[in-house]
């Protein structure tokens, strides 16, 4: 099965341990978010997974190949969007993409058709023969995205893909990431943008030199804040208290709001309240953003 598997990965630079005890699996077609503060080891993890640097210890399997022995193959099926785009400023956009594509072994005819397809898709066709030095940040980022996928890789590593981009370009990039998922690509997304992670990622890992937690955004919310249901009511608080105490629930009341903690089903509770003459106005689940989870975890 096509996947990324990391087992007990550790990375040290001299005496400085940058990553320790890193374990995760990423399935085919999954968008995996990698969140963490600056210096948490996000870029180092990407560099290791793309075979740019070696881990100090641990095992990594990508596409059932051991990274230790098959770096060249793994690099050929991986695409990388680096944190800063990095292009030859005096070369035009096509020359830049052609150079990198040749290193991936793409033949000339195939390359021309891919260049035409992606440049049109990202709205860079008219600027294709302009030196990259004249491009805006957003244009360079789009070009870097093209470079990361031009060889049709199965695994795509995106390091801060929307950092310092305007909202419109960020939106284009996010749509493109979702589009890649639709094509069955496995995406490793390192980001500071928690809304973005919440929007596009199937699962996220929160990292600070070691993995603090991994799960879907919903799972993480449940683990950190518990599952809270809020019932807004109109009626006597003391009456509500006695009804809920009789149901043996973990709850608290603040004004006209009842907070039910880790309650699986709420209809029977609502029914009990209504039958006792309490008016139930709203029932809803308390929502937390990924940002709140993140702040709580890295505290």
């Amino acid at each position: 099965m096509k996947m990324i598997e990391v087992i007990n990965m550790e990375k040290k630079f001299g005496e400085n341990t940058v990553l320790s005890n890193i374990n995760f699996k990423i399935g085919k077609g999954e968008i995996f978010g990698y969140l963490g503060p600056n210096g948490a080891g996000k870029t180092t993890t990407i560099r290791i997974l793309t075979g740019i640097i070696e881990p100090t210890s641990g095992e990594i399997y990508i596409d059932e190949h051991d990274l230790k022995n098959d770096k060249k193959y793994i690099r050929s099926i991986s695409g990388l969007l680096t944190e800063s785009p990095g292009f030859y400023e005096r070369f035009n956009a096509v020359e830049n993409i052609s150079f990198f594509s040749k290193l991936y072994g793409i033949d000339e005819n195939e390359l021309n058709s891919r260049i035409s397809f992606y440049f049109k898709m990202f709205g860079l066709w008219d600027q294709r023969l302009q030196p990259v030095g004249t491009f805006s940040k957003g244009m360079k980022q789009k070009l870097a995205l093209i470079r990361s996928i031009i060889h049709d890789p199965d695994y795509i590593y995106l390091d801060e893909p929307t950092a310092s981009l305007d909202p419109e370009t960020s939106n284009v990039v996010r749509s493109f990431i979702k589009n890649l998922k639709g094509q069955g690509k496995t995406i490793f997304l390192s980001t500071h943008n928690l809304n973005e992670a919440e929007e596009v990622c199937d699962r996220v890992a929160i990292l600070n030199r070691k993995i603090i937690d991994i799960g879907t955004p919903d799972e993480l919310k449940g683990r950190i804040f518990g599952r809270k249901i809020i019932i807004e009511f109109e009626g006597e608080e003391s009456k509500v208290r006695s009804i809920l105490s009789g149901l043996n629930l973990n709850f608290s009341i603040d004004g006209n709001k009842i907070y039910l903690i880790n309650v699986e089903r709420s209809p029977s509770i609502v029914k009990a309240l209504v039958n006792s003459g309490i008016d139930v106005l709203y029932v809803y689940r308390e929502d937390h953003s990924l940002e709140e989870i993140y702040m709580e975890m890295v505290k």
Partner: protein, 261 residues
């Protein structure tokens, strides 16, 4: 090792260097001016040549070992020495080209995307070595060809031609290529630590000192010419080997990504 990747890297570097106006002009203008000056000196020497009797005593045995007429001896002596002096051309060109090759990658932050492709460290390194070597040798050999034909054209008047001869072959086939490689390795080594091309060029210019020493040495002990040149070339090859080992260590991807700033 995939030679195709080496050539892709080499062609890209060469093309990139040629887009730099300052480098493009300096690698054309410097050899042209240098050659023009040497040809002028050579011609000026020819029309003002005196006899062997007029030269300092220290050169008597040297000049006596040259099997030509009196004026021919002096011209031969001057021409051969200037030929060694021409080694400054490849060293200077190699330093200029290779310093831009590494610092340019660093300034444009293109190293990481390259290392993410299937290219391996040796292919990357050899591409970087080849990019300055080929144009440098091409231009140098053109300069030497013009210089040699000009010298032969003058000595033809004395009834003989100087080039090619054994010392010429040693200089052209051994001394110049190996000392150019040495200069490139030196520059690559300095470039990995430099943040701008000029500082790496200035550091690598240190290597010009031994060339000047060789030039002045060869003027004094001319009769040892071939042996001296072989000896010097052997020293250069030893340094090439040592520096190659050091540089290949520095061209380790972990070093490149984490230490090249």
């Amino acid at each position: 090792m995939d030679i195709k990747n080496v050539l892709i890297m080499y062609r890209k570097d060469l093309r990139e260097i040629m887009t730099l106006r300052t480098v493009k002009y300096s690698i054309i203008i410097f050899p042209v001016i240098f050659l023009a000056i040497l040809l002028f000196i050579l011609y000026f020497s020819y029309i003002n040549l005196g006899s062997v009797n007029g030269v300092p005593n220290i050169l008597n045995s040297t000049l006596n070992s040259i099997p030509y007429s009196s004026k021919g001896k002096i011209f031969y002596y001057l021409s051969m020495n200037y030929l060694i002096f021409l080694s400054i051309v490849p060293l200077s060109l190699a330093s200029t080209i290779s310093s831009y090759s590494i610092v340019g990658e660093k300034q444009q932050k293109t190293i990481e995307p390259i290392l993410a492709t299937p290219i391996d460290d040796r292919e990357f390194f050899l591409g970087k070595l080849l990019a300055p070597l080929v144009p440098t040798l091409g231009i140098t050999y053109a300069v030497i060809a013009i210089y040699s034909v000009f010298s032969d054209f003058i000595t033809y008047n004395y009834g003989y031609i100087i080039y090619p001869n054994i010392p010429w072959f040693i200089v052209v086939i051994l001394f110049i290529p190996f000392s150019t490689v040495l200069m490139i390795l030196f520059t690559l080594l300095f470039s990995s630590r430099a943040i701008d091309p000029r500082s790496s060029q200035q550091f690598s210019a240190i290597i010009l000192i031994p060339v000047l020493v060789i030039f002045f040495l060869s003027m004094l002990i001319y009769s040892l010419e071939s042996i001296l040149l072989i000896f010097l070339t052997a020293i250069v090859i030893v340094f090439d080997f040592i520096l190659f080992k050091i540089t290949i260590e520095i061209f380790n991807r972990e070093n490149i990504v984490t230490r090249w700033k």
